[in-house]
């Protein structure tokens, strides 16, 4: 039912906004992907700090809005048997984000010692893993051929175990894996709406490890980045330099982080809207099933999208006023969109 609604929605989107995109050949699409990949890798290698500041400033807000729009498009008009799944998803997103923000606040106030801090992070990691496993279980049990979900239990136990052994490493892994999830979303969307591009896209995806290896090979022996000023300190810290001090060059870390982030922004701002058929007019809410359907909530959805747009403007103003502090707050609150991707990714299977 949901898939049918999606396809109808996507079809409407193609007719309105994506007519030109639908005629683009897979080769042009692949060439654009390769250009983006190479340009992002080159810029990330040569000017990581500059690229990180610029991309987060320009694209962090808009990409969150694009994700919000995509997720709203994927919401069914009637929750039906998925009510439990979405309730669990919402509870997890809000609960885990709130606790993560609280942990970030406590981290700055020297209330806890090193051991207590590790335990708190590990507990949060375990809670996140339990939430994902619960979502997989609920989703799996609702499907006719849903026996495979039980494999999420040992995988979840192993992940939770790793989360206790290396708590901050687990959090750092989330930072680096999250951009790759966007690539997965784009793959699923292409399979749904533009099968012609799907193969070309997968070939491009195979170039990603090559680009990463080249980046690491070139930057492995480079000197650490000069951490002059608050902004540079934040960029280096957000890339995980504090978690592995002296293990790898901060230049390599920041380059890798910003390269993946740039791809992530590119996918959400260009790739997914093109693939979903909303093309260059994602603000048109008429293709969203919850707006078009007679039992939908058009006013609420339009208001939500408008509020999201206002939040993007506010974020830009805050970045312009105090980039370092806003970046800190953004990277804490952005946990919400990282977590929100999980239930919607599960819904694509």
């Amino acid at each position: 039912m949901q898939s049918a609604a999606d396809i109808v929605a996507l079809g409407a989107g193609v007719a309105r906004g994506g007519a030109d995109a639908s005629r683009t050949s897979p080769r042009v699409f692949a060439a654009a992907c390769v250009c983006l990949l190479v340009a992002a890798a080159a810029l990330a290698g040569f000017a990581p700090l500059w690229l990180s500041v610029a991309t987060v400033f320009a694209f962090a807000g808009p990409h969150n809005w694009a994700e919000l729009r995509f997720f709203i498009t994927r919401l069914p008009v009637r929750l039906g048997r998925s009510r439990c799944f979405f309730a669990l998803a919402a509870a997890g997103v809000f609960g885990l984000t709130a606790t993560y923000a609280a942990l970030a606040l406590w981290a700055d106030s020297s209330v806890w010692g090193e051991g207590s801090w590790r335990a708190a992070i590990a507990t949060w990691n375990s809670a996140a893993v339990v939430w994902v496993v619960a979502l997989v279980a609920v989703r799996g049990r609702g499907r006719s051929r849903g026996g495979a979900w039980v494999w999420a239990l040992p995988a979840g136990l192993a992940l939770a175990g790793l989360g206790w052994l290396v708590p901050q490493g687990f959090a750092l892994a989330l930072v680096y894996v999250h951009p790759l999830v966007a690539l997965w979303f784009l793959d699923r969307q292409l399979r749904l709406s533009r099968r012609g591009w799907s193969r070309a896209y997968r070939v491009c995806l195979a170039l990603l490890p090559v680009a990463l290896l080249l980046l690491w090979w070139r930057l492995a022996g480079t000197a650490p980045l000069a951490e002059d000023g608050e902004v540079a300190l934040r960029v280096v810290r957000h890339a995980g330099a504090g978690v592995m001090p002296g293990v790898v060059s901060t230049h390599l870390l920041v380059s890798t982080h910003v390269f993946l982030e740039t791809l992530h922004y590119g996918v959400w701002l260009v790739g997914v809207p093109l693939a979903a058929g909303v093309g260059l007019a994602p603000w048109r809410a008429s293709s969203v099933p919850l707006v078009r359907h007679r039992r939908g909530w058009p006013r609420l959805i339009r208001a939500l999208l408008f509020a999201g747009g206002a939040a993007v403007l506010l974020l830009w103003l805050c970045f312009a006023a105090d980039y370092a502090t806003t970046r800190d707050i953004y990277f804490t609150v952005a946990t919400a969109h990282v977590l929100a991707e999980v239930p919607f990714l599960l819904r694509t299977f």
Partner: protein, 198 residues
């Protein structure tokens, strides 16, 4: 019944393996052999300076070095409680990973699609072995990082010739620098105790 037989075989294997493992010698404690390079200890540069006008010898340890030394000694900023929580975390992590392994085994045994799962398991094992082999080859061929190479004592060897030098010192923690310094009072020739010993 089949499940029971599998578990019985596993238990037998573990029982048989435990005395074998129990006979393995414990790893040698570091520091027993004077020729051994103690790769487990932190590294620092040290200088011995003769300071005019200094009344007593002083060992200056930079604060950053002292933190490293504390970590080596197992002293964390949070104290013993931190160490306890950390080891509890290790125990919880180990238990969870063990449970994951056991559960994976149970699911594999109970699976109704042995052929498909067999292929998947074989593929996973091959991947893990390949990664392990690749990592082994990679790490076996690279030189040791600077931290574990033998440290060059430089001209410090000239400080002591034959007879050990001894005396009282003040230990001082300083904020600047990264080098450990032993400051020795400069004694005019013919009046110092150092000369009396010679």
């Amino acid at each position: 019944m089949r499940l029971f037989r599998n578990f019985a075989a596993l238990a037998l294997l573990l029982v048989a393996a435990s005395p074998a493992l129990a006979d393995i010698a414990l790893p040698k404690k570091p520091g027993q052999d004077p020729n051994e390079i103690r790769r487990d200890l932190p590294i620092s540069r040290m200088t011995i300076e003769r300071v005019e006008g200094l009344r007593e010898a002083r060992l200056q340890i930079p604060r950053s070095r002292l933190q490293d030394l504390n970590l080596t000694a197992g002293v964390e900023p949070g104290g013993a409680q931190s160490a306890g929580i950390k080891s509890a975390g290790t125990v919880i992590g180990g238990v969870l990973i063990s449970l994951a392994v056991v559960l994976t085994g149970l699911l594999l045994v109970r699976s109704r699609r042995p052929a498909k799962l067999g292929r998947a398991t074989a593929a996973a094992v091959v991947c893990v072995c390949a990664l392990g082999a690749a990592a082994g080859v990679a790490y076996a061929n690279i030189g040791p990082p600077p931290g574990i190479r033998p440290q060059d004592p430089g001209t410090l060897v000239k400080a002591v010739k034959g007879v050990p030098l001894a005396g009282s010192i003040r230990v001082e923690v300083v904020d600047e620098g990264t080098e450990i310094k032993l400051l020795v009072p400069a004694v005019k020739s013919g009046t110092g105790r150092g000369d009396e010993e010679e």
